[in-house]
Subunit: 287 residues, 4 copies
């Protein structure tokens, strides 16, 4: 079991009345991930907010209407993750005709994952590989090997096609390209957000993280195509078709944003069954 | 009440084993639209198929695995539509902070509706209009006035941005552009498919149709930006974020497709309350 | 020496007054290519036209203003090509700092060859290869191996980036992608048009052809990335930065176009030094 | 007559051997623009360089190969501009069939000016305007009114189509969009670089500037679609099909660049015939 202590500190300046925020900063409630000791502190005492849970998606959306002036949103929680662990060699693909109805959206193209343009490309590289977890892993590896990580090399409109052409990006771009390639060979894949446990401190302070879940063997398995985190230590916030759906903050209004500050510590305590996240060859699922 | 008699005839040649089809050809079950006398005839007696209903979306997906050789799929039904009719002047927008959680996906960009790139453009043209149904209508009118309908002028990868630049398209392109512009001013909008009742026969035989629903006054209202159909006579098949989600047929495998044949007749019978579809200045909803 | 007998028949219907045409259908005059027995027949006796020679570019532009009604433009010529033939192993690249001023435009991106977006991609695949003819050949081979030829798979707006993503195209698309990749590693490359001598008749009737010239060893060498022609039999019409510059016909006005009809025969006569075009491992230049 | 005193200071750090630079920082020699008192100082005494003049283009390219370490390139000159001044109402368009051969490239699309995608759009807005200078001015005004100037809002790959969609940019983007729209209605237009005399100091220090020349009445007339400079005070450096051709510095190699420093002063001296640049309704040409 992984035990993470999480703190997220967001800081804004609202410049005009009528600013609305949608946040995905609450740790997801999933069968594999339990959350306790949550604290949410919002600096504006008169801001109105609600926390809405999407049961279908295992995620929580914090919606907040703020007033002009400074705004701080601090969230802290303890999260316990008991991964579903499986042997990659035993995980098959689910034939398209057997995919559940609620999984179908994840084989279709989306804003940043134009899989419809990649059929020839993905088919040529991955179409003839044996079906199963190993094929998704091959796509993940290909993306990691062919794209260079560079901070600030992409923007909010950068898509999988751009990344395929320009071969540079941040974790979000790696995730979009992997998703698009998976969908182009009919593997359902979705965008997941969390925190980048294990990321190299030389690449910057701890941050939100984007990774991928692929639907295999009737489960969503976790992949980290940017290779920047230790997957076992990724805590899940939200999932969607791509970054359009689950930005950690979607802001409507005139707002100045500071860099988010994130702090994650893994607890180690054999007596409690807590172990440190490590790299593993096993397949992991938190869904 | 509108009463439509619908026939859809699809004809394929399956060229290799292992062809899967997802169809959205069943008339939707909605509070405003009831379906009776349905007949589905599939020419391959040994093809396996299921019909799955998505309650959240009011639509039915026919999933079929076919064998090599000819395949015909014929669907017929009687559909009664009792529109929710409202006065446009009385229909307000729903503030972003009050949008239901299941409506949120429809303010985000999607594959063919890159609203994230259109904030300045849409804000400049429509941002300062009074909020409400009239603003959605203004967007619909703008699209109709600034894009030229031309058969075969677009492809399966054509998006709203392409249509904004090139100013030509088919009904699907008009719908994508209207949706993208709506979302760019935070109006939730979705892609809907049906049949093109009332289309000018000189433009071709009856066909599937793409139109738009905008979430206003806590309801989804119908708009026809291509202006090619009589909205009151549009029978609803399915809705989604854009054409990626609700193609009438999504095909996996090696298949040759003929043109679909569609036949829709409106019944007129005052005794039964059936009236002919006509153009109207009222706001209509079938959801 | 190669000796080609060429006939080009173009057929149009001019639908309204004021139609202007620019044609590149005259065989180029180059030190390696001589033209004799030219005949140009224009069916409209009252159409005004001029033939302008661009000495810098070794090509001739036929400019014609036509009247409403049918228009036929027939061109025939005898062309003798004495290739500059070289050993690929002896051909070096010209360092950027030594490129002549009139060659510089061909290392910059152009409409259909967005080399500026391909630096990482091209650098990763071809940046570390030994410099020289072999590097251009490696790019040519890569394009031929990774793109599939399919008639009518692209349009007039399809660019090198599209072809890199979608991996399908016609000769023009192969040429654009090869040019963009060459420029991305600072190899000057230009678009050339001719006729597709040697093309497989099963792929369609004889046609205009698009190929590539790369500036190496202070000369422009010929490459055929689509691999559909016998390069030794390609007669040169015109060169430019990409297809935008040297379409065989650029039309201003309301005109209906038929398919061009092209007929090329190679003469074989040892007494006259005429040999048949064959595939060769030597480097060829007609410039 | 306008008399400008110009200083350009460029500062680089060459990080590895083998850095080549192409600069367009020399004031152009044109019939309307004469240059005197030039000084070029290159800090690396052992750097090799040449200054090449392109007579066809009225511009000079400084090509320099530098060594690792700091590099400063300082250029100063006195420039006298005697504009060709004309009455806009007297300036006609040149019919396509009468355009000189060397002007033709400027009606074709280029890397950043995809006029081929804008025929419907430009035709709809500007196709039916009376032909002449006023039509080019209408395009210039439209761009200025529909695009917002914002520093750092675009990148090196931003094109006219992007600017048309996103409606924001810097002077280079305004120029590309105006050029693309002109070409889409068959008005030859080219990209010109100079210095931004008269720019509002609140928008930043003096800088290089991008503007447009349109071929009308057998001359290239100057337009400033971003509206940030006083056109009469723009000194010409170079022209090309778009920014791909005439960046003030094109760099091959591993180089760190500082911001350029530019200083331009207009001299006023009635005795010498020097007047200050002012806004004018007359048409101006420096070519």
């Amino acid at each position: 079991m992984i035990r993470l202590q999480l703190q997220i500190e967001l800081s804004y300046t609202v410049l005009a009345p009528g600013a609305d925020f949608f946040f995905f900063i609450h740790a997801a409630h999933t069968p594999q991930q339990t959350v306790s000791d949550e604290r949410l502190v919002i600096s504006q005492s008169d801001a109105s907010w609600t926390l809405q849970e999407s049961p279908a998606m295992d995620q929580r959306c914090l919606r907040l209407s703020a007033n002009p002036g400074p705004l701080k949103v601090n969230y802290a929680a303890s999260v316990e993750i008991t991964h579903h662990v499986a042997d990659p060699a035993q995980i098959d693909e689910v034939p398209v005709c057997e995919l559940p109805l609620d999984v179908l959206p994840y084989i279709y193209p989306s804003r940043y994952c134009q899989s419809d343009r990649l059929y020839n490309f993905a088919g040529g590289l991955f179409g003839h590989l044996p079906k199963g977890y190993a094929r998704a892993q091959a796509i993940c590896d290909w993306v990691q090997q062919h794209v260079t990580f560079r901070s600030n090399s992409s923007t909010g409109t950068t898509s999988a096609v751009d990344t395929l052409v320009e071969r540079v990006g941040v974790c979000r771009d790696f995730a979009h390209l992997m998703i698009a390639l998976c969908r182009a060979v009919n593997l359902p894949a979705r965008f997941a957000t969390g925190t980048d446990y294990g990321a190299d401190p030389s690449m910057g302070p701890p941050d939100f993280h984007a990774y991928v879940e692929v639907y295999l063997g009737h489960r969503w398995y976790l992949f980290d195509p940017s290779g920047t985190a230790i997957p076992m230590g990724i805590m899940r916030l939200a999932t969607g078709r791509d970054a359009a759906d689950v930005a950690f903050a979607t802001i409507f209004g005139s707002v100045y944003s500071d860099q988010p500050r994130i702090h994650v510590v893994a607890g180690e305590d054999p007596a409690k069954g807590w172990q440190m996240p490590v790299h593993t060859a096993s397949a992991l699922s938190t869904a």
